[in-house]
Subunit: 227 residues, 2 copies
DNA sequence: CCATGTGAAGCCTTTCACAGCT
DNA sequence: AGCTGTGAAAGGCTTCACATGG
């Protein structure tokens, strides 16, 4: 169909991709400020990442820096954007128009260049038929037909845990869906041809609080052994 | 002040804590269904985790299983809850009552046993003074005074990126804040006595789409099996 | 015989350290 | 002299494999 993009294979792992996205954001902002050059140390300072990590990440993409000088902001920005860009913009559906779903719809950070949310789904009669920001909300029972008709490749799942597996089963049965971004705090079962990215907000909060618990423990035992 | 919890030190890392939270959720559901016993294989099957990983995670907490039998659901649930519980419920503030902020407020998964969201903050006159689900919304300019008065230990940041650092600087200056859960897609600078957990929704989406790009490439080139 | 608990192996990610280019 | 690019070392997490005990 199209020319394969000369990715230096995928040594590019998930953690690296996450940082590349952060670099791109930073470079966008630097470019707007008219900054022409950055070093890996500059980037590292601004993003709280070690300069060696920055260089390693960028080295997967090729050699874009000038030794003794640094990286050209515009050049690096456009190269990064090229690497991160998909072959074509993804057509995404959002399933579950509750508060979180609506928040994501309005969330500018989720309105990237890589994909468009083109269809909404809910089970509530009050939601079905509504048009939010130009997208029509369909009933769940049209999920399969709309996935096919609108050629949706990815789905953002913001339904309650109890409904998640059911939604996913219907979606998967179409054979059209390739990826899922799941906000429901539950594990979903999918065939291994389908990729799931989990975003579990309460887990992130628990991780933070658990680490804090330890800090507190240490502080309590600070001067001597407080039992 | 309170009874020290017999943590087997903190070999308990972030990824493990994340899974412990998932185990707890699963066990809660199994307990409600009246299931008395589970094996590490059962848990692994349901959560898409290797049984050996499950056993390793649980082994950090002590020896709770019976060989040849498995784990007692109620016992394991209460032990896990004990490990994950903080010394005292945290008093949290939510800064930024936009769509995402409101979604999190209403999000039951963020209404755990570990903490309560007791105060809201925004800059918009339309939001300030409102009472949402029993919590009053204060103006940003009362952030410091309310953090102190209400003894807030953690803050959930859902303001736009451009405001995040400013908010954090004010919050940190009180000396009362110990942790931040940051949803703004930007890195924030904090003293190293303060712990930040990032939740970057657009990054998670980009990770998914980048992996899909590779799958597509392989399929176009006549590849077969997908990870 | 079954499933746990755990050292050791294997794998993945980060960090170091320095050669090489500007 | 300064900063990149990268092999090699270090560190961290997952998986294996088997001894142990019900």
């Amino acid at each position: 169909m199209s020319v394969p993009i000369p990715l230096k294979k995928s040594e590019i792992t998930d953690p690296t991709v996450g940082r590349l996205v952060a670099y791109r954001r930073l470079l966008q902002s630097l470019d707007e400020q008219g900054v022409p050059l950055v070093s890996s140390k500059d980037i590292g300072d601004m993003l709280a990442i070690k300069p060696s990590q920055v260089r390693k990440d960028l080295s997967y993409l090729g050699e874009f820096g000038k030794r003794g000088v640094g990286y050209n902001v515009q050049r690096l920005l456009s190269d990064l954007s090229g690497i991160l860009a998909p072959f074509h913009r993804w057509r995404a559906g959002l399933v579950g128009l509750g508060r979180l779903g609506e928040a994501l719809l309005g969330y500018s950070a989720l309105t990237g260049e890589s994909y468009d949310i083109v269809a909404l789904f809910d089970i509530s009669p009050q939601k079905v038929g509504r048009v939010v920001a130009g997208r029509t909300c369909y009933h769940f029972n049209q999920l399969a037909s709309q996935i096919l008709e609108q050629r949706l490749g990815v789905l953002i799942i913001t339904v309650p845990s109890s409904a998640a597996q059911q939604v996913v089963d219907v979606a998967v049965s179409t054979g059209q869906i390739q990826g899922l971004l799941n906000f429901s705090p539950t594990t979903i079962a999918v065939p291994d041809t389908i990729d799931v990215q989990y975003v579990d907000i309460s887990v992130e909060m628990e991780k933070l609080l658990f680490r804090l618990k330890f800090v507190q423990q240490q502080r309590q035992q600070g001067g001597g052994v407080v039992q």
